[in-house]
């Protein structure tokens, strides 16, 4: 069972596993890599990782469901994660959410019909000096207002 991973990725995973004295320790970096390639960690991926790290599949799912950055179902091409914590809220974070919900026509937790955007609320992103912030995939954007948000979204393909 190959879980449909590219040979390059499997090779990279092999290098990563080698950095730890116990294979299971590689699970977080491996999950990140696989999620990036396959979009989500579903049963097929869980079984493959379990085989690779010599642990039971249940241990993989225990980890996947604990950490918020892993999902069991794919998200949109652009995962917009808006900070909903204190400073961003003080600096207008709710307005950012409102604007995004209106612009994209979806609510928090939903994905647009064309699978381009998923909108989520997350906790503090560690960029409070630029509040209000959001993260699109892994890119941070701060000091947001409706105009900035609109131009950002337009710039995405």
């Amino acid at each position: 069972m190959s879980a449909g991973l590219s040979p390059e990725l499997k090779k990279k995973i092999g290098h990563i596993v080698a950095r730890y004295p116990k294979k299971e320790a590689a699970i977080l970096p491996v999950l990140h890599l696989i999620q990036r390639e396959k979009g989500a960690i579903a049963k097929e991926e869980e079984l493959w990782i379990a085989g690779l790290l010599e642990i039971k599949p249940i241990k993989v799912r225990e980890v996947v469901t604990f950490y918020t950055m892993f999902h069991q179902r794919p998200v949109g091409r652009y995962h917009i994660q808006v900070c909903s914590n204190l400073t961003c809220s003080l600096m207008g974070g709710e307005k950012v959410v409102d604007h995004l919900q209106k612009r994209l026509g979806i609510k928090i937790g939903e994905t647009t019909a064309d699978q381009r955007f998923t909108l989520s609320e997350v906790e503090c992103l560690g960029a409070c000096e630029q509040a209000p912030c959001m993260m699109i995939n892994f890119d941070y954007y701060g000091k947001l207002d409706p105009e900035k948000i609109d131009s950002l979204l337009e710039g995405l393909d």
Partner: protein, 520 residues
């Protein structure tokens, strides 16, 4: 401090002396004090997650866990101070805020730790006004296991049992925070020979036994101690027996079997083979002395049958014509019974055709379950009997009187071959607690008490002699095998004076000790 010297501490103004390396919880137990705990179990490393065992230690600013803190010389501990009471109440309040009001329909009622601790340390009115979390409630997680996530207090004993003891890891914890839940992986059930222990292990009614659900109430059950006979380890067990409602006949029932802790034999666990197999021993019992004559069943009295049987044997004994008599025993008989058996059939009557019929050996599971599926194989050896397997076809050639103890003949051969072999033997006597499909092939059925209704001792594979007594009153006319043997022996009049003294199993046991050093 001297190496290995005892540590002196004070718990609730009681001085206690304990060995180094003892936890406060264990030290308190030693002093006769109980400290509440959910997640702690003596068979696992402490988890420290339920937080209800917090106690106050003089000189330390925070409350500390009794389950995980080792005692130190001079420690002064309070398990009842206002701070401790408040902390305990706090934990109870949190657990109850996230717990369904299921007591009226929950099987754990009466033996539930949450109930017990609330009774002892709580008794407050709920201040929780918010909406309770709704979770799935009837999740089959094994052949006989049902999980209720609303009742679960996330003590993780079940997860740790399957991780540390059976090492099969069928259960895990998914999600986090208040959404944490115990789960199997997809539909993969809990499937190992120790799954039944999860029901006992769960401190609340989150894991229940499918067959026990809604059947009775724990406070109706009488708890008896006995030994599991389904293999040669002799795990110690509790049997929970409902004595029945006097005005409703037929309601007496054996409901369940639970482990009884014994560090020398089975630790804290029993296997499913024994746990669920034991209950089968209570079913389809032989209750009457039956003489199957000319296709009809005639009920006889014990006096009559024993006189009849003794007469047959005595006649042949006096005529020195015993070669046609064969007896089949089994290693489920107690030490006392095997002793009597040997004395009567081998020593007194001089029979040579002495055989054994036992359940077929099965796979051992690397933990408790042994390959030998009889409890007294070692006892048989020490009594001095050889377990030659019974071969009925060969026996049937030259046997006209066959006395069979136990229900294991059916394990020996196909029903057809058994029937044919037995058909060739003139007189067949079965002394057993269950008949097991042999009804049509036996002439005399003498109902025996079996493991449930007699007392005696068994010797486990490691040579440990364990005593047990009846878990319930005799079924019908059945009598313990030792009692049948004693009365038969008295009627045989070969050595009746000796047998008249064998009034109880403990008397018999002493007699064994007089002759065989092992049993002294």
């Amino acid at each position: 401090m001297v190496e290995g010297a005892l540590i002196k501490i004070v718990i609730d103004d009681r001085p206690v002396e304990v060995r180094p390396g003892t936890t406060i919880l264990r030290a308190a137990q030693q002093a006769g004090l109980s400290i509440p705990h959910f997640c702690f179990h003596p068979a696992f490393a402490p988890a420290g997650s339920c937080r209800i065992c917090l106690v106050e230690i003089e000189g330390l600013p925070k409350l500390e866990l009794a389950c995980a803190t080792m005692v130190r010389d001079g420690m002064k501990i309070s398990t009842q101070s206002p701070r401790v009471r408040e902390a305990r109440r706090g934990v109870l309040e949190f657990l109850l805020a996230d717990h369904p009001l299921d007591c009226p329909i929950c099987d754990k009622a009466g033996e539930c730790k949450l109930q017990d601790y609330y009774q002892e340390y709580g008794l407050f009115e709920s201040a929780f006004r918010e909406a309770k979390e709704k979770r799935a409630k009837i999740i089959p997680i094994g052949k006989r296991l049902i999980l209720d996530r609303e009742r679960c207090v996330l003590c993780t004993r079940c997860v740790r049992f399957l991780s540390e003891v059976t090492k099969t890891q069928e259960l895990g914890v998914f999600q986090r925070g208040i959404h944490s839940e115990i789960s199997t992986y997809e539909e993969l059930p809990v499937k190992n020979n120790y799954s039944g222990n999860l029901v006992d292990l769960c401190p609340v009614g989150a894991i229940t036994d499918k067959e026990f659900r809604f059947k009775t109430r724990t406070w109706f059950l009488v708890q008896k101690e006995t030994i599991c006979p389904l293999c040669s380890l002799g795990c110690n067990i509790y049997v929970d027996y409902h004595p029945g409602f006097t005005r409703v006949p037929g309601t007496a029932k054996l409901y369940r079997v639970r482990p009884r802790e014994n560090p020398d034999v089975n630790g804290s666990w029993i296997c499913d083979y024994g746990r669920y197999g034991y209950q089968a021993l209570a079913k389809d019992r032989a209750e009457k002395v039956l003489w199957k004559k000319e296709g009809r069943d005639t009920i006889m009295s014990w006096e009559k049958i024993l006189i009849l049987l003794a007469e047959k044997l005595r006649t042949r004994h006096l005529a020195k014509n015993i070669s046609g008599i064969a007896v089949i025993a089994n290693a489920w008989l107690t030490n006392e019974e095997l002793f009597l058996f040997k004395k009567i059939f081998k020593d007194d009557l001089g029979l040579t055709k002495i055989f054994f019929a036992d359940p077929k050996p099965g796979p051992e599971d690397g933990f408790l379950l042994q390959a030998e599926r009889s409890p007294n194989v070692r006892g048989t050896k020490e009594i001095g009997l050889q377990m030659s397997p019974a071969r009925l076809e060969a026996l049937s050639q030259n046997t006209d009187i066959l006395i069979i103890f136990g229900t294991f003949l059916s394990d020996l051969d196909t029903p057809a071959s058994l029937k044919s072999a037995l058909g060739k033997i003139g007189t067949k006597v079965l002394i057993a607690s269950q008949v097991n499909g042999l009804e049509d092939d036996i002439d005399f059925i003498l109902p025996a008490a079996g493991m449930l209704e007699k007392s005696g001792s068994l010797t486990n594979k490691n040579g440990k002699i364990q005593f047990f007594s009846a878990v319930r009153p005799s079924c019908g006319d059945s009598r313990p095998e030792w009692s049948i043997l004693v009365d038969l022996a008295k009627e045989l009049r070969i050595n009746s004076g000796y047998y008249s003294l064998m009034t109880q199993p403990d008397v018999i046991f002493k007699a064994i000790g007089k002759e065989i050093a092992f049993f002294r």
